[in-house]
Symmetry: C2
Subunit: 149 residues, 2 copies
């Protein structure tokens, strides 16, 4: 029996946890199910509000801890690598960024070093594009050397 394209995620939660080396807990299951019903880009607070409807006793800290765990194991993705605080740079020439997913270091990369790039064309939903910012996400040289377990 193959997975149905209807559902966002058909595999049972136990299997998903096993795949990612996570213990199966009721809180995690509800957390995951709730997020399946939130197709957008929810904040921890928003997820917490919804989960509380099903587990009124859940702690916000649990939501945070599991979201981080999910991100770490690849079940969830951070929408944008942000670094806990606002980062700015002088608005000079065109460039983009390489972000190390391990140490979060940001390095500039010239636009030409990225190869072919998308044009700012007509976009869905009447969105008026002004510029685009590309984050190349990976592991920096330093963290590659510092092999982790």
């Amino acid at each position: 029996m193959q997975t149905s394209p209807r559902s966002v995620e058909t595999r049972p939660f136990r299997e998903l946890c096993a795949d990612h080396g996570l213990a199966v807990t009721h809180q995690r299951q509800v957390l995951y199910e709730v997020m399946q019903t939130m197709p957008g880009h929810p904040s921890p607070e928003e997820v917490y509000e919804r989960v509380k409807k099903r587990i009124p006793a859940i702690s916000l800290a649990t939501v945070y801890k599991n979201i981080h765990l999910f991100v770490e194991r690849g079940v969830l993705k951070e929408v944008s690598m942000h670094h806990g605080s606002l980062r700015v740079e002088l608005n000079s020439h065109l460039h983009h960024h390489m972000v190390c997913s391990h140490c979060k270091a940001i390095t500039d990369i010239e636009e030409k070093d990225l190869g072919v790039l998308p044009a700012l064309q007509q976009l869905p939903g009447g969105f008026r594009a002004e510029r685009y910012a590309i984050d190349v996400i990976g592991i920096c040289a330093t963290c590659q050397k510092t092999k982790r377990s």
Copy 2:
């Protein structure tokens, strides 16, 4: 006389302020000069620490206010749009994001709707790229209607 490629920003600060409709104050000038010496992606806190060496009496709030003002007027650029809190999404199919620079709303955009894309090739500095994330930054349809002054 053309700008020298040597310096990050050659135009005198007064002129830059005039161009962006900003009053010239000592704090702003030092703030700007300090940021020229920080080629990376400093956080407000880091900028504050450095500025304090030259203006010990400066307030952190002043740094924040002026950074925001600079961003608003295009003197500085946010490295990635700041949403105030962590945003996550289920790690499903490949897509990117459109971010409204006004209301900060995030909308998904299919990879195919972006046109030609860069390849994950060899990058400078031995960085091992795993994926890339593109933020198209602009104004969403709703904010286009809600014309601001």
